[in-house]
Symmetry: C2
Subunit: 437 residues, 2 copies
């Protein structure tokens, strides 16, 4: 039996520092769980001088990733440099050198996961990525192990803390997206360029990973419909409240007739539902299995120690596998590599949903009838309609909630309606999850 497990970190930023802290501070505990020491033996980062608030044993730091990858005492390489090309190079080099790999790199996995899964499987090493979705929340393990006996019927994930923070503050304070974003940037909750977060791209990366594991299918990232929160207004949040809904940026996946829906967009959720009240930078993922029903996992979706916790859980799992001689016990992609089957991803226009539509109309008789008529012609039926305040000749909002309708029909109807002379700005559309009543 191996006398210890050696860990090397490449990328010593926020998460890398968290991983190092946990491995050092909880070394005794981890040893009691694993049976042998899990030692941090090497760290590579271009910046080896910055004070990260952590005291490392001498000689650990190097500026050269190759020193980590080819160090014979390193069993597990932790890739935390982020981005695409360099990270991919590091992971493939580590795999080629026979090292097991842990990564938190959701963007890379979403776009190049298949290549990495294949490389790891061919080389017979582990590739683990619990930290890639939901920070410290053990959601990858829930899909691959805890709910492994279930057909996953659907997934609803609040998986981007920045967007959730912004929407939560907009909801609490009635402020605009722009105002809250500025605040969030100053407070460090949003990046200088927040596009990845607020445009839904980060959520889509994470959803791609969840879909791949839940359904045993490769995912073409481009097929995930992705819409962010930049167009959400205080007005729509106020209407949502009035209808008893909360607006969340969700990653949604559903298995429908053997095909997969996968989409990221702002969604109205009934205010009492399990993930509707998840606020601030927290993440939550609701998994619905055919046997287990709904399970919700909630926790910190980002941050040095929470994300570090997930990385360390992977390191421990791999350590246990190494000691038990059980590498590949659970395949990286959750299903056996030769048992994965490409499922058709439904194009967005084929999905069905409930819809919230806010029309900005010049208030005059007959306008409602024309809107309702156009919706009806497209086969969309209305479950409720709200027009507050009458101001003849002025612009007023007309809000409509639909029964279950097909996206294609809704888009067709909106194209027609947006063309009408009484419409003063493009109609707001937010999809609604919940019972059709």
């Amino acid at each position: 039996m191996k006398a210890r497990i050696g860990v090397g970190i490449i990328g010593f930023g926020t998460v890398g520092t968290g991983v190092a802290k946990i491995l050092l501070e909880n070394a005794a505990l981890i040893r009691r769980r694993v049976g042998v020491p899990v030692d941090l033996v090497r760290i590579a980062d271009l910046d080896v001088t910055r004070d990260r608030g952590i005291t490392l044993p001498a000689g650990l730091l190097t500026t050269d990733a190759k020193h980590v990858i080819h160090d014979p005492s390193v069993d597990v390489v932790v890739e935390l440099i982020g981005g695409y090309e360099a990270a991919k190079r590091v992971i493939l080099d580590a795999i080629a050198a026979g090292k097991h790999v842990v990564t938190a790199n959701k963007a890379l996995l979403a776009l190049h996961g298949e290549e990495l899964f294949d490389a790891a499987a061919r080389k017979g090493v582990e590739l683990a990525f619990e930290a890639s979705v939901g920070g410290g929340i053990p959601v990858i393990r829930a899909l691959t192990e805890g709910l492994a006996g279930n057909t996953i019927q659907s997934i609803y994930g609040i998986i981007n803390g920045t967007s959730n923070y912004i929407l939560s503050r907009m909801t609490q304070e009635g402020q605009s997206f722009e105002a809250v974003l500025k605040d969030a940037q100053q407070a460090g909750y949003a990046e200088a360029d927040p596009t990845f977060d607020v445009a839904g791209i980060d959520s889509a990366h994470k959803l791609a990973i969840l879909v791949s594991l839940a359904y045993g299918t490769p995912v073409n990232f481009k097929e995930i419909y992705t819409e962010g929160i930049t167009h959400i207004t205080a007005t729509d949040i106020a209407y949502a409240k009035e209808f008893g809904f909360t607006i969340k940026l969700l990653g949604i996946a559903k298995l429908v007739d053997g095909e997969v829906e996968a989409r990221v967009h702002p969604t109205m959720l009934p205010s009492g539902s399990p993930i509707a009240e998840v606020g601030g930078v927290y993440n939550a993922i609701q998994l619905v299995g055919d046997a287990v029903g709904d399970v919700v996992l909630y926790g910190r979706g980002a941050g040095s120690l929470p994300t570090g916790s997930a990385v360390v859980s992977d390191v421990i799992a791999i350590g246990r596998n190494i000691l038990a001689g059980a590498v590949g016990r659970v395949p990286a992609a959750s299903f056996q590599q030769d048992q994965r089957r490409p499922l058709r991803m439904k194009p967005m226009e084929e999905i069905s949903s409930l819809y919230y539509l806010r029309f900005m109309v010049v208030d005059r008789p007959g306008v409602l009838a024309q809107i309702a008529g156009e919706l009806g012609r497209c086969g969309i039926s209305i479950s409720s309609m709200l027009q507050q305040g009458r101001r003849e000749g002025q612009t007023v909002p007309v809000v409509i909630k639909t029964h279950m309708a097909q996206e294609r029909d809704v888009q067709t109807a909106l194209r027609e309606i947006n063309r009408k002379p009484f419409i003063s700005e493009p109609t707001a559309l937010i999809r609604v999850e919940g019972k059709d009543e």
Copy 2:
């Protein structure tokens, strides 16, 4: 490599039926995950004729548990007969026969877990029990794997669906415990003899298991302070609301200065906190780790298919271990068997908490002063006090919330106060979790 994993079930009741359904209906999916078929090959139950709404392959059923245990095609024995003696016999016999064991039997694990852990470790077989706590919620895996790098600082669990259902309805409807219990019994949410559930014993069994896994310590079940919900009144629930609290039956564990607190009792939680809104028969467990912060797992805590889902996840994990030659990869007790250390369990009188106290007093001048004086003499300071309605000479409630105080001091003060002539009934005490403010 083994061509298939054989599963035998002993005890074909509610959960056994769920397990059989999942193994049969999701056989193809499970095979794609595990790599070989996971086949249900034998079921033992005294009643082999009852219609359980499931079509079994011919020849599966037997009335004799030994036929399961000694069937050479059975790799994993699933014990679902419940209770102590017979279940223990089945598990020890199965272990002795070299079979891996999955059980949902929390009562047995809480009282005889050490003996079972030892027997499994000595024989080199797996003993798994995800279904023993939180039904379908993968909380055992979260402790043993997902958060394995964390020192667990505290655990707060709503882990008894019957009690939660009763408290939820009392809270919504303002009804008495007795009235709701009767309803719950008629609706099948509570047993004819509900003692295990409403007296907190079932929660204490589950807490014992969580503590053992979280802290790597054997647990003497008798050392878990256990108080049920039978004394909770509509009055206290109404006051809780007024203070912004919800009353839940919680299993609480904390690591304090290297010692463990483990206790089950009704607890007031701030209404906005993550598990305060968990209603009905749902379970939720909040785990607080030093790295990950708080993680909440939520789902169905009981029922045929949800509990079956957890059992099947264990069967799959064991199947994967068998195929990888990795039996014992994660020890049953989460820590290496020789690395477990008995931690001192704090006696209840040593714990510190916030307290809600409701005194029923004859309303006359000077009474409040005497109560406050007695509390002060015992070193207990008051954070708020409420006396609604004045009815000179009649009995009225006086409600006090304390700052952090020691249980021993509170009990001493109450003994003194309950003896006073102006006290008309024993004082109600409910512990409060939350910030001391």
